[in-house]
């Protein structure tokens, strides 16, 4: 058994600046010991340590026993260890549940928050999880008990286990929703998802367009291996599409287009080819949670948040149901970069999302130029994610694509990402595109085309869709924008009525809402509890912590859902807030009572 490793990084915590700091096992122990102030704490700690010790001994014993038995078994007897394996697993699971419970009680009662002292890295599935998902370490969830974890890690590699946990931590509620979706008649008590950013307002138009005859053609080369950068006909169409809708000063070049199965894949592959493990990107926060997921899943790139400040909570803006965030300035960029450099971070680039997610703000052309100049000055790549570029529904707001800029300060290091998931409401298509002026990057990305390829049939349909400019300009975009506006106004009205401050800069599918007034105290733990309350009422929202928001209390709510569902969801939302405001202290105790 090769599992024992001394002094390996077993956990991590979120430091003040929000960056990831690894904590080694020994440090945990030291911290734990240093904090033994009261004797009660000591008792709990000793008790827990004993239980963990017992667990370890039992585990070793079972392991030895089972592996001996498996080895000496004749092939006919192979069913048997399966049974006892299960039994052992169950026992181990109960043991570790016990240990965890004792610890949970201890921390709750005594209000101390040392990391768990761990006797055996084998029990340490949570460590991996925290190391990966450290932007939301307080996310609860059915984590595996230590013992079960051992069995998992026996099958999976450590990173495999980490990936599993990371996924579970991020998508647990999404999976609950997948299993139990709301339906007007069939499942009126099911989940409504206003957490996942999807535009469901124009499904009728899209469905009709995709059902037309021209979509169902099949040619030989669609079924065969093709250029891994994307089918040439689609890249050509994308170049012309982006030239048109991004108002590029000169026609874009199909050779600089890379097609992959989704923007997450594009971002992930781009991070692979631009960064080595441990390198970092700057990203203004709050930002879309998928970046954090993507950057640690495959590419192991660190995201350094450039925190945008919100207005302090005041009666006035609660009454006006209005809120705002500071803009991304040169000062804050310079400051964050300097701080990162002082910590010897290797900052390789700046990630900008325009229109912003979750703020729905659009950068002006001069702002964008400043950011680009800043990046050039510091020799940084700029990745501009413009996935919401056609979802600007406020007519007074003008969007400027980075591809619209005539003289890019550093074209070789400017990369633009777009996809049809949001703007055309077809996230199920799995399609994303990179436009980069740097042919070397495009060609390195191609190797990832193998692993993120898009079906030829899908590429053909996308091409048909995107080249139908008449349909897009005359029918789809105007309808989509007016429906987005209407949906936004409806949600805005409901929130105003509730006196819940919110923010949206005129684009996107979401509002960023301020529920700080409903948290007492205003902590991420309380935010988590509130989020759980929404979920208990079968409503999914995204919480600020996942968006690397600096302060607790912010949530993202999608307004571009089905009209009826949004209405029901807001009723549930009202209900939760009502209960929550009534007696926050009582609510706080509920999870404790439940366990």
């Amino acid at each position: 058994m090769e599992l024992k490793e001394e002094g390996c990084p077993i956990g991590s915590s979120l430091s003040d600046s929000g960056t990831i700091v690894a904590v080694t096992e020994d440090e945990c122990r030291l911290e734990g010991q240093g904090a033994e102030k009261s004797s009660t704490k000591k008792v709990f700690q000793t008790l827990q340590r004993k239980v963990l010790e017992l667990q370890r001994v039992l585990m070793d014993h079972f392991f030895r026993m089972t592996s001996q038995r498996v080895q000496s078994l004749s092939p006919e007897d192979q069913q048997r260890p399966q049974g006892s394996w299960k039994w052992i697993k169950r026992m181990g699971f109960l043991m570790s549940r016990m240990a965890n419970l004792i610890w949970a009680e201890a921390t709750k009662e005594l209000k101390f928050k040392e990391p768990l002292p761990r006797s055996d890295p084998r029990c340490d599935i949570k460590a991996g999880q925290q190391a990966l998902s450290s932007w939301q370490p307080d996310q609860p969830g059915p984590r595996l008990g230590g013992f079960e974890a051992v069995f998992v890690s026996h099958v999976l590699s450590r990173r495999g286990t980490g990936i599993c946990d990371l996924y579970r931590a991020n998508f647990q509620s999404y999976e609950a929703y997948q299993r139990d979706k709301y339906h007007k008649e069939k499942n009126p008590m099911g989940y409504i998802n206003l957490g996942t950013s999807e535009n469901k307002l124009c499904l009728d138009l899209i469905k009709e367009r995709l059902s037309q005859r021209d979509m169902n053609q099949i040619e030989e080369d669609l079924l065969q291996y093709s250029d891994w950068q994307g089918q040439p006909f689609l890249r050509k169409e994308l170049a012309s599409f982006l030239t048109c809708y991004c108002r590029a000063p000169t026609p874009l070049d199909p050779e600089k287009v890379v097609v992959l199965n989704g923007c997450s894949s594009v971002f992930s592959s781009l991070a692979m080819v631009l960064c080595d493990p441990g390198d970092a990107f700057l990203i203004p926060t709050p930002c879309y949670s998928g970046f954090a997921f993507s950057s640690c899943l495959y590419s192991k790139v660190e995201l350094i948040p450039v925190h945008l400040e919100s207005q302090p909570l005041s009666i006035a803006h609660v009454l006006q149901a209005d809120s705002s965030f500071s803009q991304l300035t040169m000062d804050i960029l310079e400051l964050t970069l300097t701080q990162a450099k002082m910590k010897e971070k290797k900052v390789k680039g700046l990630v900008l999302v325009n229109p912003q997610n979750p703020l729905g703000e659009v950068y002006t052309r001069s702002m964008m130029k400043e950011y680009l100049a800043f990046a050039k000055k510091h020799n940084l790549h700029v990745i501009v994610d413009e996935i919401y570029m056609l979802s600007v529904f406020d007519a007074s707001v003008t969007f400027h694509s980075v591809l619209n800029i005539k003289h890019l300060p550093d074209p070789n290091k400017t990369h633009m990402i777009w996809g049809t998931s949001k703007d055309f409401g077809i996230s199920g298509f799995r399609f994303g595109v990179l436009y980069t002026h740097n042919k070397e990057v495009a060609s390195a990305m191609r190797a990832f085309g193998y692993l993120h390829g898009v079906s030829g049939i899908t590429q053909f349909k996308l091409c048909q869709l995107l080249q139908d400019r008449e349909w897009i300009d005359q029918l789809y975009l105007p309808t989509n924008h007016s429906r987005l506006r209407k949906a936004y106004l409806y949600v805005a009205k409901r929130l105003e009525k509730l006196k819940v401050p919110f923010f949206n800069g005129g684009s996107g599918l979401y509002v960023w809402i301020d529920l700080r007034a409903y948290l007492s105290p205003c902590t991420f733990d309380q935010e988590q509890i509130l989020c759980q309350c929404f979920q208990d009422n079968k409503l999914l929202l995204s919480r600020g912590r996942a968006y690397m928001c600096k302060e607790p209390g912010w949530f993202r709510l999608i307004f571009a859902g089905d009209q009826l569902q949004v209405k029901v969801a807001l009723d549930r939302f009202c209900q939760v807030l009502k209960e929550h405001k009534k007696d926050p202290r009582l609510k706080q105790l509920e999870p404790a009572i439940a366990t």
Binding site: P75, V152, V155, L156, S157, R159, G160, I163, C164, Y167, R168, F171, E198, K200, L203, K207, L210, N216, I218, E219, E220, L223, Q224, Y225, S226, N261, G262, S264, S265, S268, M272, V273, L274, D276, S294, L297, Y298, K348, N412, K413, S427, G428, F429, R430, E440, V441, S443, A444, M445, F448, Y450, L451, H452, G453, V454, S455, G456, I457, T458, K461
Partner: protein
């Protein structure tokens, strides 16, 4: 990674001076070779680019100058890429039927990342039937991804740590090296189980074999699986050619048809429509594993390896249509494969070239050793280039990590006119070559010297 691997690698690898650094330790450390590069790519980015630039050279050249009967009659004929181009007529007819053109909202939105349930159910039924599984297979054991390349990558990532290895019998389908390395940083070990410090986590078996077109008997399978179990190795069974066995008499058995697997929790089966349904461009592959931890871990990566809901719907329709598959598609496909195979093998016999082929897959493993005077991989590379210069693309043994120089893979699953022209071009090149000693054994059952396991 360090150069410590140099010593630990099996001897045959060291005899390949030009590729040594990259092809294998590439898998360890090709970075050194690129570090002088002033580009803005990361070191791993440069590795990806290297994979693309070198490994795909022939394929890229082909794409720039594809043969077309009318438009480009002097273009390159591709007998290198393993694709079945014989049944497009059947497929296009089936894929344009009305049931395929179905659009509903759930297909357009974020899916269950494991694959839509309706598709996983169809896959389970399909595999139960065509693999003749003793008990019905379960949809919850199925994970859907965009192709087997992604699946190799995902499995390598969740089963191995960076730097660990998977065992694979050679010669094998060389692209796997790239699949398991790009994200997973996993190496392939060719022969030995434990070679000084490289930890082997699993065994990859391709059945029917690529490029040998060989089939493992149930006894052999049991033996390999037993071996893996004794060493606690995962077994990744790649059965992507399972329905492309055109010699009935071979009696192919899927691992899923075995009554009892030695270690079901460590046996993972992959299949795709790329080969058996001639749709490599569709990007559809599946994993079947009883191990829910592995299934969940792979599914966790599916956000990055998903395929369109509309395509998932089409695949479900296709796999559900057993009548069409069993009565129309498979008999016709096998007949055409057999005819094409017969044509190419007769051409080879006429040329006096020994080859290996056993009636499965799309390729013939051809022995051109007698055309290499010194029997080196340089000469093999030169010969390969001469084929390419003469506008016919083949795959050389080196890309399959074949132990000895001189073996080539010829893909025969192409239309007759292209096949004829391709073989003609092959003949032209070979006729120009000086031959070494005429070996008097032009026998098609000759065993290659590299035995699987």
């Amino acid at each position: 990674m360090d150069s410590g691997y140099d010593d630990s690698l099996p001897g045959e690898c060291l005899r390949k001076p030009d590729w040594k650094q990259l092809k294998l330790y590439g898998v360890g450390d090709p970075v050194a070779m690129f570090s002088s590069d002033s580009s803005c790519l990361s070191s791993r980015g440069r590795v990806s680019k290297w994979f693309w630039d070198s490994a795909e050279e022939g394929y890229r050249t082909y794409h720039m100058d594809e043969y077309d009967e009318d438009k480009n009659p002097s273009g390159i004929i591709n007998l290198g890429t393993s694709e079945n181009k014989l049944c497009f007529d059947l497929l296009s007819r089936r894929l344009t039927q009305n049931d395929m053109l179905h659009v509903e909202p759930s297909l357009l939105q974020y899916p269950d990342w494991r694959g839509h349930l309706f598709l996983r159910e169809e896959v389970a039924k399909f595999l139960s039937f065509y693999c003749k599984s003793p008990a019905p297979l379960k949809p919850e054991n199925v994970v859907v991804l965009n192709g087997c390349a992604s699946l190799f990558s995902a499995l390598a990532t969740v089963l191995c740590e960076a730097g660990e290895a998977l065992l694979i019998p050679t010669p094998y389908y060389g692209a796997i090296t790239q699949h398991v390395y790009l994200y997973g940083n996993v190496r392939l070990a060719y022969v030995y189980l434990e070679s000084e410090g490289v930890k082997v986590k699993g065994l990859i078996l391709i059945n029917p074999q690529n490029p040998l077109g060989d089939i493992y008997s149930p006894e052999e399978l049991q033996e390999f699986l037993g071996f893996a179990m004794r060493h606690q190795l995962h077994v990744i069974m790649d059965e992507v050619y399972m329905l492309s066995v055109f010699e009935e008499s071979l009696g192919y058995r899927s691992v899923l048809s075995l009554e009892r697997l030695p270690d079901p929790q460590r046996t993972h089966v992959m299949w795709a429509t790329s080969k058996d349904f001639g749709m490599s461009g569709l990007r559809f592959g599946i994993l079947y594993t009883e191990n829910q931890h592995v299934a969940t871990a792979v599914a966790s990566l599916c956000r990055y390896h998903g395929l369109s809901g509309l395509v998932q719907h089409q695949m479900a329709q296709l796999l559900r249509d057993h009548d069409w598959i069993s009565q129309v598609y498979l008999p016709e496909n096998h007949a055409r494969l057999k005819a094409a195979h017969t044509y190419v093998s007769e051409e080879l016999r006429a040329l006096g070239i020994p080859f290996v082929s056993r009636g499965a897959g799309f390729f013939i493993w051809v022995d051109l050793r007698k055309f290499l005077p010194r029997g080196t991989f340089e000469e093999e590379g030169l010969l390969w280039r001469q084929f390419l210069d003469n506008k016919v693309l083949l795959s050389c043994g080196k890309t399959f990590e074949c132990k000895e120089p001189g073996w080539f893979r010829v893909v025969f699953s192409d239309k007759e006119n292209r096949l004829r022209l391709g073989m003609q071009r092959v003949r032209q090149v070979l006729e120009r070559q000086p031959q070494v000693v005429e070996e008097a054994s032009p026998c098609h059952t000759q065993e290659p010297s590299t035995q699987p396991i």
